[in-house]
């Protein structure tokens, strides 16, 4: 087997040194009843690269890749162009095959990159500090709610109806154990009025902007209302590219900003791995979940970086930890950070502008189709259209015509006639024309 360096001779010599007859002797503590012979496993034998590649390629070929067709799906995951440099760099052995940087003397590469990532995330969100990433946007949102409950020592979280349905479910799954979750009704194309729900038991209000229907909402009034009642405002961003064009949540009064970072540096990957961003006001740092890279000096006085404030974490605090998180999304965070380094201020804001411009163009064209109306008044690169019939059916019909037209709102449990449509810098004029034409044909 190509991955196993020991030969039969090696094994014999090692067993001799250990002083046992065979490898079975090393498993002697396993109860007889649980010693399963090879035959007990209905699994094929080892395969060479050629065969493995063939098998997995066959699986891959049965999927429609976003790059194969005019493509407009979003709703929490976005197709962007990732510069070739990013994938090259994250595949450097020293990044790809290193462990969590617990030994800082020989992990400065990862640690400095994470410190830079934290700085970037804080800047993007307009917040004071950020951690070194969480699993993804949805779990980061759940952590934010739990953190708000810890900080405020209050039990109630209010979730906007514009929060991605699967985020809501993720939050409820864990936060229900620690408090009470109030979920507002979804109101596609409108920012619902959450103010009446805030009371002195409210730990936080969680609102997504742009929301799952693409709506950009003004967060300031919500922040003021929450703060007036002693509650925190948690803002969720599922499309970080929007932060290149929209006023950041930090400037609108957010106390915690969480985001899905997939759009930068990371592929669609059928939903994972992604990277959760988590940024807070400085006063909350000791209540934050997840890893933090911090600056310090070494014994020679040279600047260096370490994982810090680990007394919050499970490997030190065990059942008193702020979270049970151990792994983060290090390599995805690195990809995010490299992509953003390449973009810089100029590239990132241009990227955002192009996304918006493509979406505006698409929205105008779709809106002009009889029976179709754009219901999102203010949006970034994603909006919702109302169709004269089932969006799920329309999507299937357009897929047959080679266009992936978006995510039917019904897939997330919303109304049947709504279609959530995203456009990015990867969409050409031809893509847009193909979508419009195909939609006209099926309606």
């Amino acid at each position: 087997m190509r991955y196993l360096p020991l030969t039969a001779d090696d094994r014999a010599a090692m067993l001799a040194k250990i002083g046992v007859k065979d490898v079975d002797a090393l498993f002697r503590d396993v109860p007889k009843s649980a010693q399963a012979p090879r035959e007990a496993f209905d699994l094929p034998d080892a395969k060479g690269e050629i065969e493995v590649e063939r098998i997995l390629s066959r699986f891959a070929a049965r999927n429609v890749a976003a790059s194969d067709v005019p493509f407009f799906c979003g709703a929490g995951a976005y197709k962007h162009h990732v510069p070739a440099t990013v994938d090259h760099l994250i595949q450097r052995s020293e990044f790809l095959t290193s462990y969590t940087p617990y030994q800082p003397e020989i992990s400065q590469g990862t640690l400095q990159a994470l410190f830079e990532f934290q700085t970037q995330v804080a800047a993007l969100t307009g917040m004071e500090v950020a951690n070194a990433s969480l699993y993804d946007g949805s779990t980061a949102t759940a952590e934010a709610v739990l953190m708000a409950m810890r900080v405020t020592k209050r039990p109630k979280a209010i979730l906007s109806g514009g929060l991605h349905k699967q985020y809501i479910e993720t939050v409820e799954t864990v936060a229900n154990l620690h408090g009470v979750i109030k979920r507002a009704m979804a109101s596609p194309g409108r920012a619902e009025d959450l103010l009446p729900l805030i009371d002195d038991q409210t730990a936080c209000v969680v609102v997504q902007s742009p929301d799952v229907f693409g709506l950009i909402r003004d967060l300031k009034p919500l922040a003021d209302a929450a703060h007036a009642k002693g509650a925190l405002l948690v803002v969720v961003v599922t499309e970080v590219v929007s932060l290149g064009l929209i006023t950041p949540p930090g400037e609108q009064g957010a106390d915690i900003v969480v985001a899905e970072g997939q759009s930068l540096g990371n592929g669609l990957n059928f939903g994972g791995p992604y990277v959760g961003l988590f940024a807070v006001r400085e006063k909350f740092i000791r209540q934050m979940p997840g890893r933090l890279a911090g600056q310090t000096v070494d014994a020679d006085g040279r600047r260096g970086f370490v994982l810090t404030l680990s007394t919050r974490e499970q490997h030190i605090r065990r059942d008193k930890a702020t979270s049970n998180i151990c792994t983060n999304s290090g390599l995805c965070a690195l990809a995010f950070s490299i992509h953003l380094s390449l973009l810089g201020e100029e590239g990132f804001t241009k990227l955002a502008a192009i996304n918006h411009s493509r979406a505006v163009e698409l929205a105008d064209k779709l809106n002009a189709i009889p029976g179709v109306s754009v219901i999102t008044p203010a949006f970034f690169n994603e909006f919702t259209i109302k169709l004269p019939r089932s969006a799920a059916e329309v999507v299937e019909e357009l897929a047959m015509k080679g266009v992936l037209a978006g995510v039917p709102a019904s897939r997330l449990g919303y109304a049947d006639d709504l279609l959530i449509v995203a456009a990015t810098e990867t969409n050409t004029d031809e893509d847009i024309a193909a979508f419009v034409k195909a939609l006209e044909e099926v309606l």
């Binding site: 094994r11 094929p44 595949q91 992990s107």
Partner: protein, 485 residues
């Protein structure tokens, strides 16, 4: 030469990407157009490349050397897996693409699920947890849902004191109180302690097996029986599955739930701290409570069930661990690893991993001190008894390994052993590599014993950095770059 931060390198007027210019009106932005600058540095592409290449060279990696981190399973990461995960059919597939356009992905998940259930001898698996600890949480929440479905009230979770920190953290996170079970002098679960703690208010017992002392829990069948008799569930931490995969089915041991770290046993790269993936195998009685999404085979294809209302008869998903359907990128890598090894290769890998650890143990136990008798599983545990009165600590010794070109072993864990040093060589090391490692450690140990301890004080000296001041870092945290005034 010290590599600056990107913020110190970058400057206005540079950019590492090229886009056409575009004008944006404010009309569609709801009046919320960003006004100020973000504060991102501008760098050209060559500068970005050089920055990260240089940074990378300050990292240790499994590709460059033996990485004996106990409990972390730093094994070889095949590049085939990286290549296949990047096939556009996987990497460029949207999670909410029509299911008809993602049948290959769903089939791959099913196939991986089949491998996991076959290897563990468990009937079901839930794929969405994003890491080991997330899998633990998923398992405990499944147990919680099963208990609630029975209308019971169970508030305590028992955990051995040698457990990974994630175990108590998870139990607490899931709303349980944690009760520690003592270890025997042989490094295993103290059955008397367990018996004394078990009771009708116990929800689950969480056990890592092989345990964190590198030992197999001999009384595992008895333990499972005790737990089940009390009406509780047996949660197994699968972090150490690499010792037994292909030889032992956890299902045969009475396990009810176990997460599997694809990034350990199945070699998806650690990437400097993630991403991982932590599918959870479940016993028949826990299966109905697995979280969303569910995969269902139907005629004509595979269906992904994404909401409770569509769940098949008898299923009551407790909720959802995360948006979408799990770590697809990791699934591809793990399946590639499994197909490459086959059932025979996985078995051989486990045997080699155990053999390598025992070889290290046998080769060093005369100069270092091993706290427990008998063969170990895939990691060899030493304590610091042998360092007494030498002035050298476990930390010093481990850091001095850096100067020899090695990553240190896991230190001060498990907590039940004083000054623990936990060495997991994995099956990926050749005998020559193990022999060299052993020779270096023996040499170091002999130096310590001969009183030549200068090099250990304040080691490492040959690394990109000397020891870093962690206290200063946490006393006044500096968590982001701030330009000098």
């Amino acid at each position: 030469h010290e590599e600056p931060l990107i913020f110190e390198l970058g400057r206005d007027g540079k950019c590492g990407v090229d886009f056409p210019d575009v004008k944006v009106g404010d009309t569609h932005l709801g009046g919320l157009r960003r006004k100020g600058k973000i504060g991102l540095p501008g760098l050209s592409e060559p500068e970005v490349v050089r920055h990260y290449v240089r940074l990378s060279r300050n990292n240790y990696s499994i590709d460059a050397g033996l990485y004996p981190l106990g409990s972390c399973t730093m094994k070889h990461n095949p590049r085939l897996n990286e290549k296949l995960a990047r096939l556009p059919g996987f990497a460029d597939l949207h999670p909410l693409a029509p299911q008809s356009a993602a049948q290959g992905a769903l089939a791959l998940m099913s196939e991986l699920a089949r491998w996991l259930t076959t290897m563990t001898g468990m009937p079901a698996v839930t794929m969405s947890p994003k890491a080991g600890a997330h899998g633990e949480l998923c398992g405990i929440l499944t147990i919680r849902a099963a208990i609630e479905a029975k209308g019971e009230k169970r508030t305590r979770v028992l955990i051995p004191e040698s457990a990974h920190g994630t175990n108590p953290a998870t139990a607490a996170f899931a709303g349980f109180t944690v009760d520690e079970v003592k270890a025997t002098p042989e490094g295993r679960v103290d059955m008397d302690s367990l018996r004394s703690k078990i009771g009708p208010d116990v929800a689950a017992f969480m056990l890592t097996n092989p345990n964190t002392c590198g030992l197999f829990e001999r009384d595992i069948v008895e333990i499972a029986k005790l737990i089940h008799e009390a009406g509780a569930y047996f949660y197994a931490d699968g972090a150490n599955f690499n010792a037994i995969a292909g030889r032992v089915k956890p299902g045969d041991l009475g396990v009810d739930a176990m997460h599997i770290n694809l990034h350990k046993t199945f070699s998806t790269p650690h990437g400097g701290g993630g991403p991982g993936a932590g599918p959870v195998v479940l016993s028949e009685r826990l299966r109905p409570f697995a979280p969303l999404p569910l995969l269902v085979l139907e005629k004509g294809g595979i269906r992904l069930i994404e909401d409770r209302d569509s769940a098949p008869e008898g299923y009551k998903p407790f909720g959802r661990m995360a948006a979408f359907h799990g770590q697809m990128g990791m699934f591809v890598r793990a399946l590639s690893y499994m197909l490459s090894h086959g059932g025979n290769g996985i078995r051989q890998a486990s045997e080699d991993a155990v053999l390598a650890a025992n070889y290290v143990l046998a080769s060093l136990k005369d100069v270092m001190s091993a706290p427990f008798e008998g063969p170990c599983m895939h990691e060899a545990l030493f304590d610091d008894t042998w360092l007494h009165d030498t002035g050298v600590t476990t930390l010093d010794f481990a850091k001095a390994m850096i100067d020899e070109g090695y990553h240190p072993m896991t230190m001060y864990f498990p907590l039940v052993v004083h000054g623990a040093m936990l060495i997991e060589p994995t099956e990926s090391e050749s005998k020559e590599s193990l022999d060299r490692f052993i020779a270096v450690l023996r040499g170091m140990a002999e130096e310590v014993k001969a009183g030549k301890t200068e090099r250990f004080e304040g080691a490492p000296r040959l690394a990109p950095r000397r020891r870093l001041d962690e206290t200063a870092a946490s006393r006044k945290p500096v968590l982001k770059y701030q330009a000098a005034e």
